[in-house]
Assembly symmetry: C2
Homo-oligomer: 223 residues x 2
């Protein structure tokens, strides 16, 4: 029964220390400002590939934390990612997380314009908010649409581009990263095929926890 | 714009065919009855490690599909996994997916007995339903509790044991697999550290889609 009585905070501390040790053993030295994000993604996936495939535009973590501090609106491309974002931490920061994928209006819009619901929901996000945080863990079409919208002037506060998959995924991530660099939009992108709703949520949470900790260093957000 | 107009069904078909080709290139030949589950997990994670680390008790897929066909109740250990289970497919089969983790009653129960909410929610699942399908993508404590409950006579219809992590995770999965084998409870378990809510949902969906397809071979469930 003992193992059923351990505290989640203790488990997390031990896990993070195991991750640090194993990164060291692999000869991977993370820049301190990126470490909280990379370590949380590895914590979520048990996959050390993310130490190699996560890319950050200049000051992306700093600017991401800043965005999380001021009543952020996060829009995800799956309800699964939305579920994974820490509600208690968001609440502390006066923020919200939305997903439009299941909305009949978005399905209708996608059908009418012969596109995907993910595209329609990114359009809705950029129509509803001036500088949303956009967390894409599933649909490469969402990233391609974002690239177009940024070319037309849209400026999200942060783009998290981590769809997973085998078709159009790799290219969509290369394109969003290039567009974000060009337009100085902060971005965190998992290059290659890997990613997912869980990774999108983990990156949001890493930034949210850091944002909440700098507001109140004694507090700690738990999902 | 072209890539924004591709159909999800076409993308999935292409993805599955890429996965088949790459499995072959790796010299991995999946038993046909296991292939839909393994391929869907790889589709969800882009991680071929799952072709090696997924374990199945005898006839687990067949019995899992059978359980999904008759108004299944799936109980997950995260709201994220619950979000990821295909609602349209569940609806067709007259089933439901529940998660007790955010219920005040479960938090209270966990606090009173000095255990985790995951343990309390597994207890609630086994109290509320005679043969639930239990999908654990996060908490090793849930699997340890399930092992105890099975020793005391509980018989879930199926156990999906795929928590992710660095502390107690590997051991909890070895123990649940051994217990399921001993008590002839169908189980699908990801050995080692890897897993997650996305993997738990993907396994549920693979079984749900197969169940729905045998009822109506022209239909196809989409998340």
């Amino acid at each position: 029964m003992d193992q059923q009585h351990v505290k989640p905070a203790d488990i997390e501390r031990t896990s993070m220390s195991i991750i640090e040790t194993e990164l060291e053993e692999r000869g991977i030295l993370l820049p301190p400002e990126l470490a909280p994000v990379v370590k949380r993604v590895i914590h979520t996936t048990a996959d050390f590939d993310y130490a190699e495939n996560l890319r950050f535009t200049p000051r992306a973590v700093e600017l991401g934390i800043k965005a999380m501090k001021s009543a952020p609106t996060i829009v995800t491309d799956t309800n699964m990612a939305r579920s994974g974002v820490s509600k208690p931490t968001l609440q502390k920061l006066g923020g919200q997380v939305l997903c439009y994928m299941a909305e009949p209006e978005v399905a209708e819009l996608a059908k009418r314009s012969g596109t995907t619901r993910a595209v329609a929901s990114m359009d809705k996000a950029l129509q509803s908010f001036e500088h949303p945080i956009l967390a894409v863990g599933n649909a490469p079409t969402a990233l391609l649409r974002l690239t177009e919208r940024m070319e037309a002037g849209a400026r999200p506060a942060l783009v998290i581009g981590v769809p997973v998959g085998f078709v159009n995924v790799v290219e969509s991530k290369e394109r969003i990263l290039a567009a974000c660099e060009r337009f100085s939009v902060p971005a965190i992108v998992a290059m290659g095929r890997k990613g997912g709703s869980n990774v999108a949520a983990a990156i949001c949470n890493a930034l949210l926890y850091s944002a909440a900790n700098t507001l109140d260093p004694t507090a700690r957000g738990w999902q």
